[in-house]
C-alpha cells in the first residue's frame, strides 16, 4: 500500500534507487562484508584503494596529532596521498 509520497516522489526515488539498489542487496564479495578492500570487504568510511595497512598508518599519524576520528572518513589519492575528510561547517586544510 503506497503512501501519498510515492505519487509525488517516484521519479526521485527511481533516480536514486537505480544507482544503489543492486549494491544494497548484493551478497557477493566484496559487497556482503564490511572490511578493507585487501580483506575482501567494502566500507563507506574508506575509499576503495585504502588498505588495512594504510588505515593503520594514518590512524597512528592522526593519533599523534591528538585528533580523534569519530567524525571523519579516509580517502586515498594516487599511491601515497591521503585525505582525512572531517565533518564540519567551517572549511580548512592542514597537511602533515
Amino acid at each position: 500500500m503506497a503512501t501519498p509520497y510515492w505519487s509525488t516522489h517516484q521519479a526521485d526515488f527511481e533516480k536514486i534507487y537505480s544507482r544503489i539498489g543492486k549494491l544494497i542487496f548484493n551478497a557477493e564479495t566484496p559487497y556482503a562484508h564490511i572490511d578493507f578492500s585487501d580483506k575482501h570487504g567494502t566500507s563507506g568510511y574508506y575509499s576503495k584503494s585504502v588498505t588495512s595497512a594504510d588505515a593503520e598508518l594514518v590512524k597512528e599519524l592522526t593519533i599523534s596529532k591528538g585528533i580523534k576520528s569519530e567524525n571523519n572518513r579516509l580517502v586515498k589519492q594516487g599511491d601515497k596521498e591521503f585525505i582525512v575528510k572531517i565533518a564540519s561547517i567551517d572549511a580548512k586544510e592542514e597537511i602533515i
Binding site: 564490511i34 572490511d35 578493507f36 580483506k39 570487504g41 566500507s43 563507506g44 568510511y45 574508506y46 588495512s52 588505515a55 593503520e56 598508518l57 594514518v58 590512524k59 599519524l61 592522526t62 596529532k65 585528533i67 580523534k68 576520528s69 569519530e70 567524525n71 571523519n72 572518513r73 579516509l74 601515497k80 596521498e81 591521503f82 585525505i83 582525512v84 575528510k85 572531517i86 565533518a87 564540519s88 561547517i89 567551517d90 572549511a91 580548512k92 586544510e93 592542514e94 597537511i95 602533515i96
Partner: protein, 159 residues
C-alpha cells in the same frame, strides 16, 4: 613518504541546517546545563573539533533526570573495521518514569548481582560506577538503524 591532508568542511550543508535547528532548540532548554551542552554541540559541528563533542557529553551526563532525553553526533563505531570512525545519529525521546524506576532497581542491586555473573574480574571494571539507567519512549531516532538500547557516552575521557 606519505602525505596526509586533514580537510575540514565535509557535510557542511547538512551541518549548517543542523546547527540552525539546534540553536532554535537551545532557546527551549530546560536548564543551564542543557543550554551549555548545546553550545558545545554548535561549536563541535561548526569546527569539526572532537574535543567540543567530548565537552558536550561531560555536560550531558551532568543533566540528571531530564524529561526530554536527546543526544546527537558521530557516536557508534560498530560499522568501521578499525572501530574509530563513527556513524551519525540524533534522537529525541521522552523519559518513561515508571519503567525507569524499575530499571533503577537493577542499578541499585548491581554490586551484589555482579558477584554472581559467570565471568571473572578480568572482564569487569575495577570499580562499578552507577549509570543513569532510563527507559525512553523514542519520538525520533535518525540513524541507519534504531537500537533497543544504548550505552553512552563512549568516551573513556567521560566514563
Amino acid at each position: 613518504m606519505v602525505q596526509v591532508k586533514f580537510q575540514y568542511g565535509e557535510f557542511a550543508p547538512f551541518l549548517r541546517d543542523l546547527n540552525k535547528y539546534l540553536a532554535e532548540a537551545q532557546k527551549h532548554s530546560a536548564n543551564e546545563i542543557q543550554s551549555k551542552m548545546i553550545e558545545e554541540y554548535l561549536e563541535h559541528f561548526k569546527t569539526g573539533c572532537m574535543t567540543k563533542h567530548i565537552d558536550s557529553q561531560k555536560l550531558w551526563i551532568q543533566d540528571k533526570g531530564p524529561i526530554i532525553e536527546t543526544n546527537i553526533g558521530f557516536i557508534e563505531s560498530y560499522l568501521d573495521p578499525l572501530k574509530i570512525r563513527a556513524e551519525f545519529e540524533g534522537f529525541v525521546a521522552v523519559v518513561n518514569q515508571e519503567e525507569s524506576l524499575i530499571l533503577n532497581k537493577l542499578v541499585e542491586g548491581a554490586n551484589t548481582t555482579l558477584k554472581y555473573l559467570t565471568w571473572g574480574e578480568a572482564f569487569e571494571c575495577d570499580v562499578f560506577r552507577k549509570p543513569d539507567f532510563t527507559s525512553l519512549d523514542v519520538l525520533a531516532f535518525a540513524s541507519s538503524g534504531i537500537p533497543i538500547g544504548i550505552n553512552i557516552p563512549n568516551y573513556n575521557e567521560v566514563r
